[in-house]
């Protein structure tokens, strides 16, 4: 009997969206380096350039530790660079020999010709756009979170020259603004924000007037309150040639999250068991997976 050859599904730890202290970041990445069964780890500030002076000192040590732990490190970049300093920083990072994640078209001119990842903030909705980016060096494409599994799968089938990555776990990045909501809630402006976002390491919950859990804010970013937990069967991924699942850091035990997804991807755990295991963790919201099924993102099509 010929053996069915199935390419291994790889796990990626996405960038931390929240304003964690340098100590917290270092502790986090030390443990990821030593214990988390992920192949690739994104580091770097994506949401707010004002945080960079705080987190920048943590990166060299985090990178060294992760690389010594055998992880491929990807340098993630700002999703909405604006100031001269932010644009310069983006250009500098794009010159790095490591893989870089582009989260705004601003990064394309200085990264063209070198391999890069496009993050979920780059609008890749169809195979023609994917191919356009691939010719400049896009190697891994993590499409916007609102795309269904079927849509990402269709792109993947038509663009075998790139790896497609699905945003599988974590609060969903839903919007960016020029306005800082943490500052606004605290009666401040963005330019004198006092970094109140650091008080909410998973984002600040936003409920409706009827106390429905709905969204979360993280500085200029709005996320879902609920936690994406897309748990595809390995065969479903293989049938579309989807190689990677992205796990987005929250304060829960991300090593355990990675272990659960590793077991799922290896076929050692059924999707419903993986979801149950995830639901037992200390998560900031309930589990959802609506987007993957072409439904509203907040819906949970699989129970629990």
């Amino acid at each position: 009997m010929p053996e069915i050859v199935r390419m291994e599904t790889m796990l990626t730890l996405g960038p931390v969206f929240f304003h964690w202290s340098p100590d917290r970041l270092l502790d986090f990445y030390r443990r990821i380096a030593d214990e988390a069964p992920v192949e690739r780890v994104h580091i770097g500030e994506v949401v707010c350039g004002k945080r960079m002076p705080f987190s920048d000192p943590a990166w060299p040590a985090a990178i060294e530790r992760l690389e010594r732990g055998g992880k491929q490190v990807v340098l993630s970049t700002l999703a909405a660079p604006a100031t001269v300093r932010e644009r310069k920083s983006l250009e500098d990072i794009c010159g790095d020999e490591r893989l870089v994640e582009i989260n705004d078209v601003s990064g394309l001119p200085s990264r063209s010709g070198k391999a890069f990842v496009t993050g979920p903030f780059i609008n890749v909705y169809n195979e023609a756009s994917a191919k356009f980016l691939i010719q400049f060096g896009a190697q891994t494409i993590c499409p916007p979170v609102e795309l269904s599994f079927a849509a990402v799968g269709a792109m993947s089938v038509k663009c075998p020259e790139a790896e497609f990555e699905i945003f599988a776990f974590g609060r969903l990045p839903l919007a960016l603004s020029g306005r800082c909501y943490h500052a606004r809630i605290h009666g401040l402006h963005k330019d004198s924000c006092q970094f109140t976002c650091e008080r909410d390491p998973d984002g600040l919950a936003v409920d409706t007037l009827d106390d429905q859990q709905f969204l979360a804010v993280n500085g200029v970013q709005t996320l879902s309150n609920q936690v994406q937990a897309f748990c595809p069967a390995p065969d479903a991924l293989a049938s579309k040639g989807i190689r990677r699942l992205r796990l987005s850091p929250q304060t829960c035990d991300m090593v355990e999250v990675a272990r659960i997804y590793r077991r799922l991807a290896d076929g050692r755990e059924e999707p419903e068991d993986a979801r149950f295991a995830l639901s037992c963790l200390d998560l900031p919201g309930t589990l959802v997976d609506g987007y993957a099924h072409a439904r509203p993102g907040w819906q949970a099509t699989a129970v629990p």
């Binding site: 990064g107 169809n126 195979e127 756009s129």
Partner: protein, 332 residues
């Protein structure tokens, strides 16, 4: 300082509004086809191919231009629908296509070199690097600026780029960066990028409750109004929410944009064109707003006294509050 006159770009949701906008003094009107290829995909709005051709003839006869918005993101396996829309726009004799998707931009740049390409606000290009990339790759001639930039930033940007800029001056105000907001699909399954709609009407309910009228979107409470209070449309980012122990219009108050007082500032910042939002609006509204802005722009161009746009548009404010939005830095 620019020496050319600023262009007034006005919305046309229907052939009747197109004519009204042209007659009220629009230098250009923008419109879309009656399908998911444009970001105002509402029932009863937009143009058939024949209506567009006729609209182009009417506008050109009156010295106005027509810009066709094909500014949603093409669906995988259906990219041809977007390409055909671009082909039809080019064949209609329209003056420009407004697009955001690499697939659409690439198709127009390759196959319709005679038509101008404008980069839609949905592409959210806000830096010299991003705008330069779109200009180099697709020959984009104008960029519609995201509604999150201050006047100072627009001035700095214009000094650093070679393409024209177009800035929103009136109408609906997105507080999120356009083209990168998935709030609507999170709640409803439909979004600007996927479907050309935001907070779609078929998902809205107004429920009469003891505390008043509750406006919901897809079952999520967006705002509540006491009896006798005017009831607003539950656009997600203008809703009232609880966060950090406070109840507030967290993202933005239910306000609309009015930068009528900033026309001279936008001109000084090097902006080429001023855009009025509202393809979903009727022709009475469009006529009045365009006429008011025509007067205001002409006054600025003549270097005379600024016109009080608020007074001119007293009939259209509907009691709703207005803001100059991100053009003033403190908005952030």
């Amino acid at each position: 300082m620019t020496t050319t006159r600023m262009e007034l770009v006005c919305p046309a949701g229907t052939p009747a509004t197109l004519r009204a906008a042209v007659q009220a003094g629009a230098n250009a009107v923008y419109c879309g086809f009656r399908d998911e290829t444009n970001a105002r995909n509402f029932p009863g709005l937009n143009f058939s191919r024949d209506e567009l051709a006729e609209g182009v003839r009417f506008a050109h006869d009156h010295g106005s231009k027509v810009l066709v918005a094909i500014n949603t993101f093409a669906r995988v396996d259906d990219v041809d629908i977007w390409k055909k829309a671009a082909d039809a726009a080019a064949e209609s004799g329209a003056d420009a296509i407004i697009a955001a998707d690499f697939a659409v931009l690439g198709h127009v740049a390759k196959n319709h070199k005679q038509i101008r390409l404008h980069l839609s606000v949905q592409a959210a290009a806000a830096t010299p690097e991003a705008i330069g990339f779109y200009a180099a790759q697709f020959g984009v001639r104008r960029v519609v600026l995201p509604r999150v930039l201050s006047l100072q930033e627009i001035a700095a940007l214009n000094r650093a780029i070679d393409v024209e800029t177009e800035a929103f001056v009136f109408g609906g105000l997105c507080v999120m960066i356009e083209g990168r907001c998935y709030l609507s699909s999170y709640a409803t399954g439909k979004s600007p990028n996927l479907n050309g709609v935001c907070s779609p009407p078929q998902m809205v309910s107004y429920d009469e409750e003891p505390g008043g009228t509750t406006a919901r979107l897809s079952g999520f409470t967006i705002d509540r109004y006491e009896r006798g209070q005017p009831v607003g449309y539950p656009t997600l980012c203008k809703g009232k929410f609880k966060a950090g122990g406070r109840t507030s219009h967290l993202f933005e108050d239910p306000v609309s944009l009015n930068a009528g007082g900033m026309i001279a500032g936008l001109k000084a910042a090097g902006v080429t064109a001023l855009k009025i939002e509202g393809r979903q609006r009727g022709k009475g509204y469009v006529s009045e707003v365009v006429r008011a802005f025509r007067k205001a722009v002409d006054a600025v161009e003549k270097g005379g006294e600024p016109v009080d746009i608020g007074r001119l548009l007293a009939g259209q404010s509907e009691g709703a509050r207005q803001t100059a939005g991100a053009y003033e830095k403190k908005w952030r």
